[in-house]
Symmetry: C2
Subunit: 103 residues, 2 copies
DNA sequence: TTCGGTAGTCATCTTTTTCTGACTTATTGC
DNA sequence: GCAATAAGTCAGAAAAAGATGACTACCGAA
């Protein structure tokens, strides 16, 4: 039984796809920080109070898989990893800002 | 231990609030149909293929509680109930459309 | 008064998400 | 070599969300 959300007869909701990209307890927070510049795992752990490694990791993995974030290994002084917005990610920023300004 | 998402030190994400209004398996679909005019329980059951009473009921209750939808008892021919967008709901429509057009 | 339509509730079960704590791997400063 | 920093993984537990099936309540028509 393939339980895909196949709302047939044209009842599919396109907005749903986009909403799902940012659904989850920590994704909006991660996305917001990423809007201001590249983010790092350790920074996220510090900024997102209450979050845990596992949740941040899986949120990052999903954001990568959905191509909103790009992972980069920065071979410098203290070698580290950065996540920055992809083009697709940037495209969502204006809408995200509107969501923010809404209330 | 009150486990509220209190991202202190200014790290709260305002967009998160709005995103949560439309989070869940059926809310985007309900909202979308409500954009085109008042919706009824039985219609939703027909249109949202795969959905079940309980899920639709609780989605409707949450959309009401979040003041996106207003419930109205229509005392007419076949007495029934209608849900229509509130002002707050209408305010989200433009953003919702953008989410739709994004892909 | 019984039936169909409309709009649910309730208890329970299953699935999905999120959290916890212990352990891992690579690099770098001392 | 040894500890710290950075970025995780993994198994298991708990919590939240969603699904199921039975049952309820109101109205109107036959």
């Amino acid at each position: 039984m393939t339980t895909e959300n196949t709302n047939r007869e044209g009842a599919v909701c396109p907005a749903e796809e986009t909403l799902k990209l940012l659904s989850g307890k920590w994704k909006p927070g991660i996305f917001r920080l990423a809007c201001d510049g590249p983010v790092r795992f350790s920074t996220l752990m510090r900024e997102l109070t209450g979050a845990n490694k596992q949740s941040i990791t899986s949120a990052l993995r999903e954001l990568e898989a959905d191509e909103l974030l790009v992972k980069t290994i920065v071979r410098e002084k203290p070698l580290h990893i950065e996540y920055h917005l992809s083009q697709k990610g940037e495209a969502i920023v204006p809408i995200f800002r509107q969501l923010e300004s809404l209330k």
